[in-house]
Amino acid sequence: MAAPSGTSMFSKYGGFAAVRGLVMDFYDRVLDSEIVGHHFDNVDMRRLVDHQTRFIAGLMGGPAELDEGRLARAHRHLGISGEEFEEIVDLLSQTLSAGGVAESDCDSVIETVERFRHDIVTERRP
């Protein structure tokens, strides 16, 4: 996930200060979403913020690692549909663009997220 310069996207955009804005914006977008918001109705706020902080910091090469096993375990029982996954990808991409992340970096983040699709989407298509 390193930016072309060799430093991580995390440091390129200003470390935690930049990620902070992204995490909050993403949090709002996800909770307000008609498609995925209901998943978070009864989720503890601290847990969700913790998860999203690591998620975004991890995606940008910050001091967190994305663990496929953990992601899979956290989503297994939720029966996430393909449509819901795409909504999250969409919201993330909106968040990054609004936060001033360059298009090429945006694309590389989305590419990373797409790699987790099979760990997260568990609902079988009818």
Partner: protein, 355 residues
């Protein structure tokens, strides 16, 4: 004065929730739309119990016992979301009637930010611990390559000044027939046994104040009197050599593979330094190193060869025999002798612990 209509519009529009409560029956006397929206759509006349759960209601009652304003955290709803609300409770009067004023602020953002900082701090702390572990690993590795004081110098200045140590004793050990052994036996077994023996040698060396400098295949080089000067370096090296031979003898009694070594000990000045830039090693150079190597070659298997002049220093604890003259490359004719432990000497207790 603000016109009446404006203040009522303002009251309806502000982003904080406001309610007036009768202190007697605790019913709502006035609520603004924000308050109503956050708390299940309550309206005037509803009991406060519809807004606050039992615990919160009790805390409010307790707080009202004093005249001071106080705050409490409760949960509310904004649309589908649960939000954190901080309620400031004040006692007020309106037209001579006692009232309780509730001012509610949405502090969800604050709580979310706190949660995020906690999360990030935990992440950073975890990373720091990992880095610390890696640092310890790297240090351990470097300490295997050089004496600690040299490592300290290397860490502080990024380089090590070559230094003359004078005089020191150099111990050189080489195994008899190792090359054939390595090929004949299972190489993993040979190397694992060598590892075993070197580990024991390292402990013996440490015990007698010798510093292992390097191993090269089946050759093992240790120095007494470096990096800290030791006036008794000859004796330290001699003791170390004798114990190493004794360790091998004992080991051979119980192991299927027989390991036989030759040892040479010599004294003189050496220069110690880190050599190499990318792949650096700490090494020692000097005539004592070369002489120890030549003396080692003069030894019979399981024997220690030293220059004859060691006798004056070692006469108390060791016996020297097989005195002869050998021609050593680079040194000419040198009087040498075999170093042996005095039979009467009781076994060192610290060595017993090693085996």
């Amino acid at each position: 004065m603000i016109p009446e209509t404006l203040s009522s519009k303002l009251f309806s529009a502000i982003g904080i929730g406001v309610a007036l409560v009768s202190p007697g029956d605790l019913t709502l006397r006035l609520v603004n739309p924000t308050f109503s929206q956050w708390f299940k759509g309550v309206s005037i006349g509803d009991p406060l119990a519809d807004v606050l759960d039992e615990g919160a209601l009790q805390r409010l009652k307790d707080g009202l016992a004093s005249d001071e304003p106080f705050t409490m955290d409760v949960a509310g709803k904004a649309g589908r979301r649960t939000i954190d609300i901080e309620v400031t409770v004040r006692q007020a009067r309106h037209d001579d009637e006692a009232m309780v004023l509730l001012e509610c602020q949405n502090i969800s953002r604050l709580r979310q930010t706190e949660a995020m900082i906690d999360s990030y701090a935990a992440m950073v702390e975890r990373k720091e611990r990992e880095l610390e572990r890696e640092k310890v690993q790297a240090e351990k590795l470097l300490l295997n390559l050089m004496p600690r004081s040299v490592y300290e110098e290397y860490r502080a200045y990024g380089s090590v000044m070559p230094r003359l140590y004078e005089p020191v004793s150099v111990l050189m050990i080489d195994f008899v027939g190792f090359t054939d052994m390595a090929v004949a036996a299972d190489p993993t077994v040979t190397v694992s046994e060598l590892n075993d023996i070197y580990t024991a040698f390292d402990r013996i060396a440490e015990l007698y104040g010798c510093e292992r400098i390097k191993t090269l295949g089946d050759a093992y080089l240790a120095v007494a009197g470096l990096p800290h000067p030791n006036p008794d370096h000859v004796r330290a090296a001699a003791q170390c050599a004798v114990k190493m031979i004794r360790f091998l003898k004992r080991r051979n009694e119980t192991h299927p593979h027989t390991w036989r070594a030759r040892i040479g000990v010599a004294t003189g000045p050496v220069v110690g330094s880190v050599v190499g830039v990318q792949k650096y090693v700490y090494d020692v150079f000097g005539p004592a190193v070369n002489q120890a190597a030549r003396l080692q070659q003069c030894s019979e298997p399981m024997e220690i060869t030293v220059p004859k002049e060691f006798a004056s220093e070692l006469i108390d604890d060791f016996s020297l025999d097989k005195v002869r003259t050998e021609t050593l490359r680079g040194f000419g004719d040198v009087q040498v002798a075999r170093l042996k432990e005095r039979r009467t000497q009781p076994a060192s207790r610290s060595f017993e612990m090693l085996s």
